[in-house]
Each structure stands twice: as C-alpha cells, then as structure tokens.
Amino acid sequence: MDLTHSPADEAFRAEARAWLDAHVPAEPLPSLETEEGFAAHRAWEAELAADRWSVVSWPTAYGGRESGLVRWLIFEEEYYAAGAPGRVGQNGINLLAPTLFDHGTEEQRARVLPPMATGEVVWAQAWSESEAGSDLASLRSRAVRTDGGWRLSGQKTWSSRAAFADRAFGLFRSEPDTPKPHQGLTYLMFDLRAPGVTVRPIGRLDGKPAFAELFLDEVYVPDEDVIGEPGQGWRVAMSTAGNERGLTLRSPGRFLASADRLAALWRERGRDPFTRDRVADAVIGARAYQLFTYAGASRFLDGEPIGPESSLNKVFWSEYDIALHETALDLLGEEGELADDGGWAEGWVFSLAGPIYAGTNEIQRDIIAERLLGLPKGRR
C-alpha cells in the first residue's frame, strides 16, 4: 500500500498548480446556468484547452495529455483547490467521450472530440422522456430510417444545459416491436439547432434554465452520427457505465475543496459548537471519498473492471454534497438564505439534483443490493 505519488506525478501537479495560479479568474464567473455565465464558461474551456488542460486524460491527438487516471485525479484536486470555474463541457467530456472511445469510429472521434475539448461544441444529454425516467428502456422517441440517415421524432426532457448547448446525444427507438424494451434502441448524436428541433428551457428550483425539454419533429441525422450498431444502443450506453466513468463522474478534488471551504467558514464563524460534528463529518467524508477513489483507481490500473461499485460512489457523493451545503447554510444563518451571489445557496440548489440524476439513488441502491450483495430481484 502506498499513497505517495511518484516524482513525475508530483511534477505534473506542480505544473498544473502553476498554470491554474496564473489563469484562474480572480472573480467567480457568472452562474453557469445563465446565458451570460454559459458564454463565460465556454470561453474558460477555450483557455483551458489552449494549454491542454481541458481533457488531460485524453490522447494528445484530441487535445489531451494522455495523463492517465492518477494524474487526472491530481489535476482535479488542483483544479478545485484553485477555485477554478465549473466545467460547462462536462456532459460531453464525462458521458459522451468515454462512449466514443469505446464504441465510436476513428472518424467520429476525430470530428467530435477536438471541438468538445475546446468548448466550441457543448453537448447536452437526451436520455429521459416524460414517461421514461428510471425506467429508461421504456423510451418512445423514434429514429426512422431515411436516405443516408435517420429521422428523429418525439420528446426528450430534463436535458441538462440544453438551453444553451449546441448538440445532444441520446437513445432512440429504431425498431418498434422488439420482445424486450431495451432492444431496438439506437445511440445517436444530433444538432440542437437542426430544423425540427424545438428547445424549451425549464427553470430548475431556483428558476435558472439549467435544463430543457426537447421536441423533435422529423429531425434529420446522417448515418455518421450513429454510435455503434443501430439497434445496439442500450448496450453502447450501458457498457461505459462499467469503465472508468464510474470513477470520474465526480472527482474527489471537488469535495476536498468544498470541505476545506466549509472548515474555513466554520473557523471564521468562531468554531460554532452546534455544527462542529457535521463540519468534521464533511472533512472526513471528502477524505473517505478521495481514498475510496484512489483504491478504485488502483484496481482499475490493475485491470479490474469497476462495474457496480460505481453505484456506491454515486449514492455517497450525492448525499455527501447535500449534507455539506446544508451545514454551510446553517452556519451562515440568515445570510445563507441569500441566493443572489452564487456561493453556498446556489451550490445547495445544484446539490439537491444529485440523488435524482445519473440514475436515481433508489436505482443505485437496487444495483448495490442485487449485484454487490446478491439479493434476489423483486418488484421495483
């Protein structure tokens, strides 16, 4: 067992830290969930990409540094410790890119990944439908064969950042009468500004248009934008859940930085005795999450698949994030109620979505119980 990093990894850390010190904006950018903030965050992605810091783990051909998982973790620790902005490109980088690495063609990777890395093209996901949430495989939006491609019709919803994003990826039913619902689905990428697409922004809890509903009416998509084989979309979408994506959806660096900020706030507020235990738990939880991730990364580097263990991860960080923000708001008292300057209040609103998206925590607990503990399947 060894928790020390190699001198080369520490040199990488120092390089990242120096770059961030010189580039991270002194003032926080406007909220990512507003038009103005979205544009500012897109410009930040370009600044990151100009010096190859936007996607450090990717191959150099697509704008990365081929850093490997450990240096990605180190970069994330430095990134959030430096107070750097949220990542507007994260849906594409965390969800679509791993799918393209595993199932895309060389042509697709060369075409899609470089502009994703620079923020020139920001991606939204298009999974959920009004009648297909946790039961995603029951989705009904259609992809119908046409000359040289497909026509997409139907409705997608809860599409994060789609109000301002450029393109989207998701699953569509390409074969209507299959024996099982997860058969006959195709994974497609499409343009949110294509003819036939209507984007209706939805205000989240605080009114900011953080997600949107998508209405698709005979939207043309060329064959080159199908990922994997038509009809195999479910397998394509799910297979990447078992790789390092399970480790990288939320980096420990983010929570270590938040816990440090909370502990600093607690000390500023005279070491309030009533929130002391919760502050300690936030500090401990960030460390636990970091070490859990290091253990997972070590197994991954040994060649073990991550698999259903990523469900432990997801429930932990999503509940941790809410508890951390609640503690900060309680410490702040009436000031905590103020929501017009970003900060803890906006973070709290964002954290509340965590147990719902990326597979609800109820679904994750089912996975833990059935696939890690071996309990029998039952009715949901």
Binding site: M1, V283, R287, A288, E362, R365, I368, P376, G378
Partner: protein, 341 residues
C-alpha cells in the same frame, strides 16, 4: 500510488479468517463472557502464533513491527469473528512499554501471547482485567487527544476491582487497584492511543462486515408473503446503505494505517464505529425478533458494535481531533499526504 493490499497482506487476512472460522469463536465468546477464560486463552495463543501481536512489537523484542497496515488487516478479521479479550489493549500496551528495560521485560511475552495486557488511562476501565496478566495504568497523561503531554506515570497494578457487566457481555470491565509497581514516570500515552484507535477502528469495521454478511444471508433465506424478504426494496435499501457506510470506512482505515496521523486515525475510528453501529441497527431490524435474543449469535456482534463506538475515544472526541488536525493545515485529512509528499 497503489492503494491496495498486496498479495501477502491478503493471504494473511485469509489465513487468519480460516483460523478463526475453524475456532468456533461464538462458543469461545460465550464462555469468556461467563468468566471462563480457558478457551479464550487457547485462542489467544493461536492468534499470537499467527503473528498478530508481534505486529505491534519491534524486532529487537521478538516482534516484527510496528506494522500498522498489517495490524489493521488482522483486527478486521478479529472483529469479523467477534474474538473476545483485551486485543486492542495489548497493542496499546506495547506502545507504552518503549523504554528499553521495560521493553525487554514485557514485549517478548506480549508478542508470543504468553502475556495478555490491559490498560487503564487516567482511571478508565481496564478491559478484561480478570484475564490479563499485565495490568497497566497510565495516570496524568490521558488527555484523550492522542497528543499526550509526556509526563504520565506508568504503573503495573497488582490487582483489579469487581468485574462490571458491559452491554457486550464479552467485554469485562474492571478498575485497576491503586498502587503496585511504578514502571516509568515520564511516559506519553499519545502513540498508545493512536494505535488503540486504529485497532479499534479495524475491529469495528470487521464487526460491521460480519453483521452485513450474516444479515444478507438471513434475508436471502427468510421467506414471508411467499418470497425471500431480501427481495423487498425497503430491506435492500437498508442493506445498501450499510454496505456504502462500511466500504467508505475501509479506505479511511488503511489511509490512517499508512500515515498514523492522530487526526487520520480519529477519522477512521469515528467512521468505522458509526458504520458498524449503523449496520448493527439494520441487522437487528432485518432479523426481527430472533435478532433480539441473547441465544442467537448475532447478539455477539450487535452489542460489540455499540461498545466499540465509545471505546478509546467517543465520536465527539474523534471529531474534535479531526477538526484540530485540519486547522493545522498539514494534516493528511486536508490532503497533505497526497498533495505534499
């Protein structure tokens, strides 16, 4: 960076698990609880022969330690099998007996298992004083924060008061008698406290893992309404939460064993003990009435999970230490080990 047990450490855990499984620990626990230490002492010898106590003793005194990671590995197994006795206290004692004369006199016996130690800090209860052969008292340095002042008096007591009943019947609590032989006059209990907390954290994690395993096995076979109760979501989700709590305590334990920083160890202690206790509550609820009986073996782990939470530092003391550590800025808890080394 490779944060995984190596093959040798895994094999050590596996061999201890096999040894303890074959030892039928529940019957050993029950006789120990009744004050009959015969089977417990025999088991103690086998655990010593497997090298567990030697991990806490330096090579110069017939040990192989200190090896905190291996010690944590061993104590997870001891907890998993609910092994009775002053296991943690014997590890703590080894850290008190560092002065060469004392080390030479006591440590070989602790390493070989011929001696069994218990420890009272500033008048606290000494676990299993009736079974221990080395009764150590530290007076004047039990400030509870792992940063002992270095001016405590270490005393070898010659006897103990009446045995008090613990909520965990296998833990027999005694007060050490005043007087006896003064062994040293300027000891610090800090290192003993850190090692005791690490071992307790590991033991608690093992207790929690055993409770989870037994409960999973139970709800798979227990049938109601014509189906295994483990197919119900309300049951599954409680067990999933127990699994999450235990799996996030585990890396804290081994991270603490690597750094042996008092704040890291305190974090591991409070987290492992709370995870084990939470799992105990779930285990009891999901077993139903049978779990609430003394005769059913689950009780051996249920009661221990509660007792360990406050042994060698309450949750509140541990959290206090975590925050004082993070205020220093150099603690591993604020990322020091990973960021700065």
């Amino acid at each position: 960076m490779r944060f995984l047990l190596d093959d040798e450490q895994r094999a050590f855990a596996h061999s201890l698990d096999a040894l303890l499984t074959a030892a039928d620990t529940p019957s050993v626990v029950r006789s120990w609880s009744a004050g009959d230490h015969t089977a417990g002492r025999a088991l103690w010898s086998r655990i010593a022969d497997a090298g567990v106590f030697a991990l806490a003793v330096p090579e110069a005194y017939e040990g192989v330690g200190p090896l905190p990671v291996e010690l944590a590995v061993a104590f997870v197994e001891l907890g998993r099998h609910a092994v009775p006795g002053p296991l943690v206290e014997t590890v703590a004692a080894a850290a008190l007996l560092t002065e060469p004369g004392l080390a030479k006199r006591f440590l070989p016996g602790l390493a070989s298992g011929e001696a069994i130690a218990t420890v009272a800090l500033d008048g606290s209860y000494a676990l299993d004083g009736d079974a221990a052969t080395v009764l150590l008292a530290v007076d004047g340095d039990g400030d509870g924060n792992g940063n002992g002042g270095g001016d405590g008096e270490l005393r070898l007591a010659h006897g103990h008061g009446p045995v008090r009943t613990s909520m965990d019947p296998a833990r027999r609590l005694t007060r050490l008698e005043a007087g006896g032989e003064v062994l040293a006059t300027s000891v610090t209990a800090g290192q003993a406290l850190v090692r005791a907390r690490l071992a307790t954290a590991a033991q608690a994690l093992g207790v929690g893992l055993a409770l989870l395993d037994r409960t999973v096995a139970y709800v798979r076979q227990r049938s109601q309404f014509g189906v295994p109760v483990g197919s119900f979501q309300a049951v599954k989700h409680r067990l999933a939460d127990a699994k999450i709590a235990l799996e996030f305590a585990r890396p804290l334990l081994f991270g603490a064993a690597l750094s042996m920083d008092p704040a890291d160890v305190a974090a591991a202690k409070v987290t492992a003990c709370e995870a084990a206790y939470r799992t105990a509550r779930t285990a009891l609820q999901l077993h139903g009435a049978i779990g609430y009986t003394a005769e059913y073996d689950l009780s051996l782990w249920l009661t221990k999970a509660r007792a360990l939470r406050t042994a060698w530092g309450t949750p509140s003391e541990c959290r206090e230490l975590v925050l004082s550590g993070s205020a220093r800025g150099g603690s591993a808890l604020s990322g020091g080990v990973l960021r700065c080394s």
